[in-house]
């Protein structure tokens, strides 16, 4: 049983990088850098006779070897000129060029129909050992080579500062990507920052309170091309298969619907910031306000499936993020034997969808339910990303909701009580949802609504460092307030949708129709008595998972993320043992979390491939609590 499913991954990585600089003239240098990353990965997998994978291959074991290699090369060449004039003007100019290339390929060999009791190691070491029964076939080997993903960039940057009072940086960068048609391939990214250190001005000269003060303004554009390759061309892949004479032949299938117009997604960031430090840098305050706008977002957009494709990668829509970040550093106590430094930050962000192309809203599927799942997120213009879309839970059907026919032993729902038609004919103990449109029937088409929002109201962190004589202590806490988590585990593990599925512990208090003697109870009085203390519905088993509000929980938390206590030997002792430093310490990471969330970890996000379905907890790993003991020695 232990090795019923076996999976082992190997990786080999070689990363080389180097640079050379050459001073051509005084103030003028040339720098070239080159980097090569070569990553090879192999995953060996094995499924024994008892696994569902073996089920379709005559209950005989299956093994596969997947090999992947990726090579990334980048090279940049730049000229830098820097000069200081009259001891006041500081000028720095860079111009350069850069290339990037990523090439990857993979091969999969799968062998089915191994001898029934072969071990994983034996099978993987003898991939030729599988032999299909008459009429069955081995899997064909698969190899896939991805076209090179290339970038070509030109860049220039000018930095200037006057007397450390006025500072300005302006840069211009042009990136061209092979993922887009040549005409659409370039994106020009201007960016710049200006800063004014106003404490250097004459009128601030006599000020003792403010040590340093700086006002910053920034603007920048960044691009995103993280999509598949060559999506601007209509291409075939060899993914089709059809059996003639019961023997499967490979067939061509279009990979995706080409979109000739694909171009860079761009993200414009604007920010204004203020840095202040007081009383000889004892207190430092930074406040930043920002507005980031994403435009021409690269998204898989649902298109009419009558085209033959259900989605297409498009540049669609825009979003904005506005927020404020505040950071405070304080050297609160600076005594000979005792110091206390504190660092506190807090931030809030507001996300808004500002445009979705030709529509005002669309639904997305987080996908944890597999291919049969229905959309469970809503994206809507004017609203933030991360709206969870589902039914509103309304407990479960009670015996009183039905009239009982003693002749046929059947329960018929009383008029006026909404019928959960998604789960079939209601019976006592069945999960109940709110009938939002009031038509007496709960349907997936009409009774789902926005039930929650994955975005936090604010978040932050607080770090404190203390030292007392030779002891030092640091405590770091962080928190998030106001976000909701879609606890998909709760849905899966209470549903009984498929045989042999585990249940969460609280399901022991579920509604039941079977009494202690193992008999089915149909009498209304007895059934009501049997379930007088039932706390939750009975599993529904409809082989379809639906989001309903019961599965959404508040994800707010306060976590003691790190606690470190150290002791250093006194210096006179160190001199005797000829050490310059000796410190012993103990650290606990993830010491404690204060949260009402019932899953493993409130800092969870398991469906990250789609940025529009954040906040799902499905089979997320718990966060490890780690203890570290250590010694720092300096000779």
């Amino acid at each position: 049983m232990t090795e019923a499913e076996y999976r082992k991954a190997y990786t080999k990585a070689i990363n080389l990088s180097g640079y050379a600089t050459y001073t051509i003239l005084k103030n003028l240098t040339f720098k070239t850098t080159i980097g090569i990353d070569n990553n090879d990965a192999q995953t060996n997998a094995f499924w024994s006779k008892i696994t569902s994978t073996a089920r379709n291959y005559a209950q005989q074991p299956v093994a596969s070897i997947f090999q992947q290699s990726a090579v990334t090369i980048n090279n940049s060449n730049a000229l830098q000129y820097s000069k200081k004039f009259e001891n006041k003007h500081d000028l720095n100019v860079i111009v350069g060029q850069e290339i990037y290339q990523n090439v990857s390929k993979s091969t999969t060999i799968e062998t089915r129909y191994f001898p029934t009791d072969i071990s994983a190691e034996q099978a993987l070491a003898n991939m030729g050992l599988g032999s299909p029964p008459t009429g069955a076939q081995q899997a064909r080997p698969i190899s896939n080579e991805i076209p090179a993903n290339r970038l070509f960039s030109l860049f220039g940057r000018v930095s200037y500062s006057y007397n450390d009072k006025y500072l300005a940086t302006v840069s211009l960068r042009s990136d061209r990507s092979s993922k887009f048609k040549y005409a659409n391939g370039a994106l020009v990214f201007p960016s710049g920052t200006v800063a004014w250190r106003f404490t250097k001005e004459g009128f601030m000269k006599d000020n003792k309170f403010l040590t340093d003060g700086k006002l910053r303004l920034g603007y920048g554009v960044a691009g995103n091309n993280r999509i598949g390759d060559l999506l601007y061309q209509q291409l075939y892949g060899v993914t089709g298969e059809y059996a003639l004479n019961h023997s499967v032949l490979p067939g061509y299938a279009p990979i995706a619907l080409a979109n000739e117009d694909l171009k860079w997604e761009s993200n414009i960031s604007q920010n204004i910031g203020l840095d202040l430090s007081f009383l000889n840098n004892r207190f430092q305050l930074s406040v930043d306000a920002y507005k980031n706008s994403g435009k021409n977002l690269l998204l898989a957009v649902a298109i009419p499936p009558t085209s033959g494709y259900s989605s297409q990668i498009k540049n669609l829509g825009s979003t904005t993020n506005k927020g404020i970040e505040v950071q405070l550093n304080a050297y609160i106590i600076q005594k000979k034997d005792f110091t206390w430094n504190s660092n506190f930050n807090i931030s809030t962000n507001k996300n808004t969808v500002t445009n979705l192309g030709t529509v005002s809203q669309l639904t997305r599927n987080s996908g944890w339910q597999g291919s049969d799942g229905t959309d469970d997120y809503l994206v809507k213009v004017g609203e933030p990303v991360g709206l969870m879309y589902g039914f509103v839970t309304d407990g479960y059907y009670k015996v009183d909701d039905f009239t009982f026919n003693a002749t046929t032993n059947t329960y018929t729902i009383k008029p006026g009580i909404p019928v959960n038609s998604v789960y079939g004919v209601p019976q006592p103990g069945m999960l109940k949802w709110k009938d939002i449109d009031g038509d007496g029937l709960v349907t997936a088409d009409k009774d789902r609504t926005v039930i929650s929002n994955a975005n936090p109201k604010f978040m932050g962190g607080w770090n404190n460092q203390f030292s007392y004589r030779n002891f030092d202590l640091s405590v770091f806490m962080n928190w998030v307030v106001g976000n909701d988590i879609y606890n998909a585990n709760k849905i899966e593990m209470t549903d009984g949708a498929f045989p042999s599925l585990n249940m969460l512990e609280f399901m022991k208090d579920r509604w039941t129709n079977i009494n202690d003697q193992g008999q089915v109870v149909t009498d209304p009085t007895a059934l009501a008595a049997l379930n007088a203390n039932a706390k939750i519905w009975s599993p529904v088993r409809v082989q379809r998972y639906w989001l309903h509000s019961w599965a959404v929980e508040d994800g707010s938390f306060l976590r003691i993320n790190n606690l470190t206590l150290g002791y250093s030997l006194p210096s006179d002792l160190l001199k005797k043992i000829k050490l310059s430093r000796f410190r012993a310490y103990a650290t606990v990471n993830n010491l404690a979390t204060l949260t009402s969330y019932t899953g493993y970890d409130p800092e969870v996000n398991t469906r990250r491939s789609d940025p529009l379905t954040q906040g799902v907890d499905f089979a997320g790993y718990p966060r490890a609590k780690t203890w570290v003991f250590g010694v720092n020695l300096t000779f």
Binding site: Q137, Y242, A243, L244, Y252, A253
Partner: protein, 596 residues
């Protein structure tokens, strides 16, 4: 000075590289596909174009094609069979006609059929553009024409399936990358049918007959094109649910009935290509043992294989008698239930009864146990007939799906002749009786007198197609094209109640049946057709609820007669709705079918 020159030289090297890069930038960024295949490479030669066509065939089979969903979920509930189990938002929602827009069993096949159309459209666009299509060798030109004819036929099949289930569907005839607007509007179904019937005429002249096509396999041959053309013409000339919510047929229907008649007549003149297998059982024995029928009765079949959800089928695993996974036959069956009135529609001497219906389940010990009257299963694709045996829990027995049989051609011919002539012609009666005599093999004298008036012959055709094609995914759609679905459902409900109450034609059905095992087989003590007043089992026999079962058997908490097609509403349920995601993707530009 020398130093500066040296420095400039050193600088010049990377600078030159950079300049080369800049000038070569366009070439550097011009990336070619590696594993993928460009359209021009895909249609460079016959072998590659064949791979593209295999890709089109691909969309016929699999769980979302004629592997289970289209052929085993969509045709029920009907007056012959129903889906087993209590209602859900999947296949039972389809069977009970409670179709929610989020039913994924509706969406996935819809997507697959349109993928098929898109793949076909790419081939239909490209094949005639291939240089060797006009200037290749004769062999190349012939083969490419065959491919072109096949792909026209495949597109017609995909669209036909969409038309009969969804009505006025969008019918894209050019590949999506050439469409200026992906919001392809809905087309009038009669126009689409007419276009497809023209396409099939073109295809008829391009593909070879079965015996001229070389190695026998599941590729489309001339017989398949002609039979499909006849079938489409019958549907074009039949009733369907219009967007008005009314069941109507176009006034020009006789034109199409004529096309169907002529195609059938052509096929019937080519008995060397396709004719009836002399034994009804042998059709299914051959299909379940992966043997081609020399008579070629199955004119068009969808190939299955590969033991996966994409290229293989689930018949026998999903439907047929319930077979225990630990038995020597391996798991199977139970997904479809034969209605009691269907079992009793067969004459006891009709060989089709015991092929089409099964009264047993197989236990882990291989021993058969009987099924009660309300839980009879179908039998054409039974798992225990598979040769070689496939023990264990495999999902894919690998049976092909028969799309059109020669019996269908004979009965379409008879139906069309009757319709066109106002009464059955001698040829129509011969064709009808040919099917019937094969069914009554050994008892041919019992086929009864064939009606000679139009209405009587039509009713006989309706009944004969009922008996001939059970579980072949034909009945529901036949009833719709005759505008008889609502009537037959109502009739079935009444028949099952009569049966429960031993009334009318069903007065003789026994309340209980007594049985025992004889080896692994079942031995029945009393007849299914004679009343039996004994209620206790004689020694050595076991009592089985027969008629009695209809009083206790419940689906969704109601009796069988009320539970079948429970939410069927005429003027709505004859078509499926477009699913929610399709409606959403169309952004308001798609007209939902009536009633949804």
């Amino acid at each position: 000075m020398k130093n500066i020159v040296k420095k400039i030289t050193v600088l010049a090297i990377p600078f030159c590289i950079t300049m080369l890069m800049v000038s070569g930038c366009k070439e550097y960024l011009d990336v070619q596909p590696k594993s993928q295949i460009s359209i021009s490479d895909a249609f460079a030669n016959v072998a590659s174009a064949t791979n593209a066509i295999i890709g089109v065939y691909d969309e016929l089979m699999g769980d979302n094609g004629y592997g289970i969903r289209i052929n085993m979920y969509y045709p029920y509930d009907s007056d012959e069979m129903i889906v087993s189990g209590n209602i859900d938002n999947g296949r039972r929602g389809i069977g009970r006609y409670q179709l929610l827009l989020t039913n994924t069993e509706i969406r996935n096949p819809f997507l697959q059929l349109y993928r098929g159309i898109e793949k076909a459209n790419l081939c239909i666009e490209q094949i005639p553009l291939m240089a060797i299509y006009t200037s290749g060798t004769d062999a190349e030109k012939k083969e490419l024409r065959r491919l072109y004819g096949e792909v026209l036929t495949l597109r017609a099949q995909f669209l036909f399936e969409l038309l009969r289930n969804w009505g006025d569907v969008p019918a894209p005839l050019t590949p999506a990358y050439k469409q200026t607007d992906l919001f392809i509007p809905q087309s009038d179904r009669d126009q689409t049918y007419t276009k497809l019937i023209e396409d099939l005429k073109t295809a008829t002249d391009l593909v070879p007959w079965r015996t001229e096509a070389g190695v026998r396999n599941e590729r489309i041959t001339k017989g398949a094109v002609k039979a499909l053309r006849a079938k489409l013409a019958m549907f074009r000339g039949g009733y369907s649910l219009r967007s008005s919510g009314k069941m109507e047929r176009n006034a020009d229907y006789q034109t199409y009935i004529k096309i169907a008649r002529d195609e059938c007549a052509d096929l019937m003149a080519k008995r060397g290509e396709h004719t009836l297998n002399p034994s009804f059982e042998d059709i299914w024995r051959k299909l379940t043992s992966f043997t081609y029928d020399p008579a070629g009765e199955i004119i068009f079949e969808v190939g299955a294989g590969g033991s996966n959800s994409n290229s293989d089928s689930r018949m026998g695993n999903y439907n047929g008698p319930s077979v225990n996974a630990s038995s020597r036959y391996g798991t199977g069956g139970g997904g479809l239930l034969v209605l009691p009135n269907y079992f009793y529609a067969f004459d006891s001497t009709d060989t089709r009864r015991d092929v089409t219906t099964t009264l047993y389940a197989v236990a882990a010990t291989n021993v058969k146990s009987p099924r009660r009257l309300g839980e009879i299963t179908d039998g054409k694709f039974r798992k225990d007939w598979r040769n070689p045996l496939l023990p264990g829990t495999a999902l894919n027995p690998g049976y092909n799906w028969p799309m059109i049989r020669f019996a269908d051609v004979l009965l379409m011919f008879a139906e069309a002749e009757n319709e066109l002539n106002g009464a059955p012609t001698a040829a129509a009666i011969t064709a009808f009786e040919e099917v019937r005599k094969r069914a009554y093999k050994g008892n041919e004298s019992k086929i009864g007198k064939t009606p000679t008036d139009k209405a009587g012959f039509f009713d006989a055709i309706v009944n004969e197609r009922y008996l001939e094609f059970g579980s072949e995914g034909i009945r529901k759609f036949d009833l719709i094209r005759w505008n008889l679905l609502a009537e037959k459902i109502a009739e079935t409900r009444q028949k099952i109640q009569d049966m429960r109450d031993a009334k009318g034609a069903y007065a003789t059905i026994p309340q209980y049946i007594f049985w025992k095992n004889n080896g692994e087989e079942i031995q029945w003590q009393n007849s299914f057709y004679k009343p039996n007043t004994v209620t206790t089992a004689p020694t050595g026999w076991t009592r089985l609820d027969w008629r009695q079962h209809l009083t206790t058997n419940l689906i969704d908490g109601v009796q069988l007669h009320a539970g079948i097609a429970r939410f069927f509403v005429t003027g709505k349920s004859e078509l499926f709705p477009y699913d929610q995601a399709t409606v959403d993707a169309y952004q308001g530009k798609l007209k939902q079918n009536p009633g949804y």
